[in-house]
């Protein structure tokens, strides 16, 4: 008995010693560090120069680090901070990055980029025009990213710092204003390495122009360490040397463990990916919660080939009947923004003076009368098919029932929902929450008549006038496209083959002393980050 008691007491003491070693929040420096930022003439006044490390949450382990493959959380962070593109978009305006400037030729079929001359890759090779050419060609081969380079039909390099892209399709050169935005997703890789190595090499090895490189990468646990590279070209571009030199990422796969990690101080920056712990984190001390807008939207899809949705007035009525705020309350209270404009508010080509569909059941009923629809109306040609988001579906079905339209709900496996959407075997459905791009022209994917059954025109909406308007808008690279965007948006808002439900934002939680600006879609650059006092 005495011996057992002694053993138990010894175990307790050992445990206490281990636990008392320190409250180590995993990799961050708590005031100490490797020396902080260097001489930085433009340093913010409240900079805490003694802290130059950050610990962040990763939502999944990176399995590869090539920017031309599937980019999920950890891979995206690597792409943003270790690779660079010719330009970036901060809001609606393009900002030069590896390209200093660009211009179109007279007929808009060629886009010429003038490249920076002081850029080097992490292996020391200088950045030249051939790198851009090789990167675009490599992107074309990617199953995951090739839609960004599809519209580039020719690439010429008249000199080492000039690239001329010819845009068009299989029928020949055509102007395409979307290519400029698409270039923000084509990361530049070194052409010599692309010629010498396979794509498999880039999955395992990093060679970019970006300020950071991967110091350590555990493929099993996903723990990743990024460090600033001292030979980075862009100190003048950013206006300062980096304040954060080391970033350590740990994987937390679910929202609960992410929220515990940020609340306990185990990590210092977290993308939440969910809302169930939002209310708890809002009350936590020492943390800041930031909601960042994204280009992600979520639509109700009307099958315009079936009754009653083949009638524009009925579609408009349904859109007025939707209580979007109630839909948000079910699952996206913190991250969603109710909207009825088919264009995301962050898009180029968005205007807020077009017809909107604010919740108005009386107006909806009026429109149904105008359409000649006798209510109550039971939809017999098709059902409301869905795979997930049952709560949204129930609210929508109830809203429609309130104006006299009744529809049968039909829950299915997600993949069979997609098949039915392609084949038109439905009356109503929901799109996945996705981003189509930052320009109104990108919405052509869900409107073009030739995308019915093969692409993303889930509404099976056939309108040659809309096809022409989209094409005209996309092929206009001048300032005149703004007016075209306005007209186009007015038209599709009126036609309403889809009803936008809400725009999806992202929630980030981080220590309040961390200054970490984020851009649309939650993109962030570690070069912008610093600790404050």
């Amino acid at each position: 008995m005495k011996r057992i008691l002694a053993i138990v007491l010894a175990a307790m003491m050992l445990f206490a010693v281990c636990a008392a070693c320190n409250k180590d929040s995993g990799g961050s420096n708590n005031g100490g560090g490797s020396g902080g930022g260097t001489n930085n003439a433009n340093a913010p006044a409240n900079l805490d120069a003694g802290r130059d490390e950050v610990t962040i949450v990763l939502t999944g382990a990176a399995k590869q680090i090539s920017p031309n493959y599937r980019l999920w959380n950890a891979e995206r962070i690597t792409a943003w901070n270790c690779y660079e593109t010719l330009l970036v978009y901060h809001g609606a305006e393009p900002v030069p990055y590896l390209a200093e400037s660009w211009e179109y030729n007279a007929d808009g079929t060629q886009l010429t980029f003038h490249l920076r001359k002081d850029v080097k890759f992490s292996d020391g090779t200088p950045f030249v025009a051939e790198d851009v050419k090789a990167s675009i060609e490599n992107n074309k081969e990617s199953a995951y990213q090739s839609n960004y380079s599809d519209d580039i039909i020719d690439i010429q390099c008249p000199d080492d710092h000039t690239v001329v892209l010819t845009t068009g399709d299989e029928s020949g050169p055509k102007p395409n204003a979307l290519v400029l935005y698409n270039m923000t997703w084509i990361y530049i890789l070194p052409h010599e390495k692309l010629a010498k190595e396979t794509n498999e090499w880039f999955k395992e090895n990093l060679c970019g122009t970006g300020p950071y490189t991967i110091k350590n990468w555990d493929k099993t646990t996903g723990a990743t360490v990024w460090e600033y590279r001292d030979d980075y070209w862009g100190v003048d571009y950013w206006g300062h040397e980096p304040y954060i030199k080391k970033i350590t990422g740990y994987v937390y796969e679910d929202e609960y463990s992410r929220s515990i990690a940020i609340e306990s101080g185990e990590v210092e920056f977290c993308r939440l990916y969910g809302e169930s712990t939002y209310d708890t984190l809002v009350q936590a001390k020492g943390l800041k919660i930031e909601k960042v807008p994204t280009l992600v939207t979520y639509y109700l899809i009307f099958n315009t080939e079936k009754e009653p949705w083949n009638n524009k007035l009925v579609r408009q009525a349904a859109s007025y009947a939707l209580n979007r705020q109630m839909i948000l309350e079910t699952t996206n209270k913190a991250t969603g923004v109710a909207s009825s404009c088919l264009a995301n508010s962050m898009m180029v080509g968005y205007y807020n003076d077009v017809q909107m569909y604010d919740y108005n059941p009386e107006k909806a009923k009026e429109l149904l009368k105008q359409a000649g629809l006798q209510t109550p109306y039971d939809i017999t040609d098709g059902t409301f098919i869905y795979g997930e988001n049952e709560l949204h579906v129930q609210v929508i079905a109830q809203n429609l029932a309130d104006i006299g339209i009744n529809i049968q709900l039909d829950k299915r496996d997600t993949s069979t929902v997609e098949t039915a959407q392609f084949n038109g075997d439905f009356s109503l459905s929901l799109s996945g929450q996705g981003s189509y791009g930052n320009d109104l022209g990108h919405l052509s994917q869900i409107f073009y008549s030739d995308k019915i059954g093969t692409g993303l025109n889930w509404a099976h909406y056939r309108n040659s006038e809309v096809d022409k308007m989209f094409l005209d808008y996309i092929q206009d690279v001048s300032d005149g496209r703004k007016e075209k965007a306005h007209k186009l948006l007015e038209y599709i808002q009126d036609e309403s083959p889809y009803a936008l439900l809400f725009e999806q934002g992202e929630i980030f939680v981080y220590e309040e002393k961390l200054h970490c600006p984020m851009f649309t879609d939650g993109i962030y650059f570690f070069m912008n980050w610093y600790w404050t006092k």
């Binding site: 057992i4 995993g26 590869q64 199953a143 796969e253 679910d254 993949s415 997609e418 996705g434």
Partner: protein
Amino acid sequence: MIKYVIKRILMVIPTMLAVLIIIFTILALSPGNPGRLILGSTARQEQVDALNHQFGVDQPFLTRLWNYFRDLLHGDFGTSYTSQTPVINEIKGRFPYTLKLALYSMGLAAVIGIALGIITAIRQYSIMDNVLTSIAMILAAMPSFFFGMFAIYIFSLKLGWLPTNSSMSWKGWILPVVTAALNTAAALLRLTRASMLETIRSDYIRTARAKGADERTVIWKHALRNALMPVITSLALRLGGMLGGSVVVEKVFNFPGLGNYTVTAVQAKDMPTVMSSTLILSTLFCLVMLLVDIAYGFIDPRIRARYTTGSRQRS
């Protein structure tokens, strides 16, 4: 005895074959489109079709089954749909974590469960016996995810003593190991106690005491060896299960083990990963059971005697 071992090993093969065919058939017949799942809803159909073709999912069922077994025999476990990396590399990376978690937690459970089980059996009806068996009952009934989340809440969030993430440091292993061990320790405590109580009431134990053997010899040399038979079986069954990956513990603690990996693969309809993980799990389970049976032969002379060459002794 050797004949017995060989026979048991050979029986593993048809078992594995049946498991693989059943799982492959279920996965192949279930609706799913890996290309769309990976590329997302905004990808073009041509891209999706190209990726599906790359994965071979557009081929007939029997062709796919044949290709799978052919590749398996060449040591090719396939490429994960989601990560596009060879599945065997992922399993090789994750299995050591699962193995270590299983061994540490089963070791801890065995030490705690068996030791306390012996004590409670020897001290039957004492206060210690009542307290320990009550605690064991509660822990056995408590789901491991509940204890895990509770432990995270107390030790990580409130006290800040231990990290939740095992990849941070060795301290990150404490909570998952203890969580995985407690349920088993509680079960082992109760089983050991019951088994010991039955054994120490046997005639031969009374005889040993009557012959003047001291209590330590009676318990450790005579009673324990026989009492441990069902305990070993239980421990082995649980170890076999743990080697397949304790999904709940791995999910709660973001543990990079095989269980977590397999569940994620099932959700993503990542067929090569699910098949390979199932193969590994089934093989391990069969091997563990085989080792238990062999161990029985060495622990229990009655079983060993039954299989000695040239004779089949009846008990």
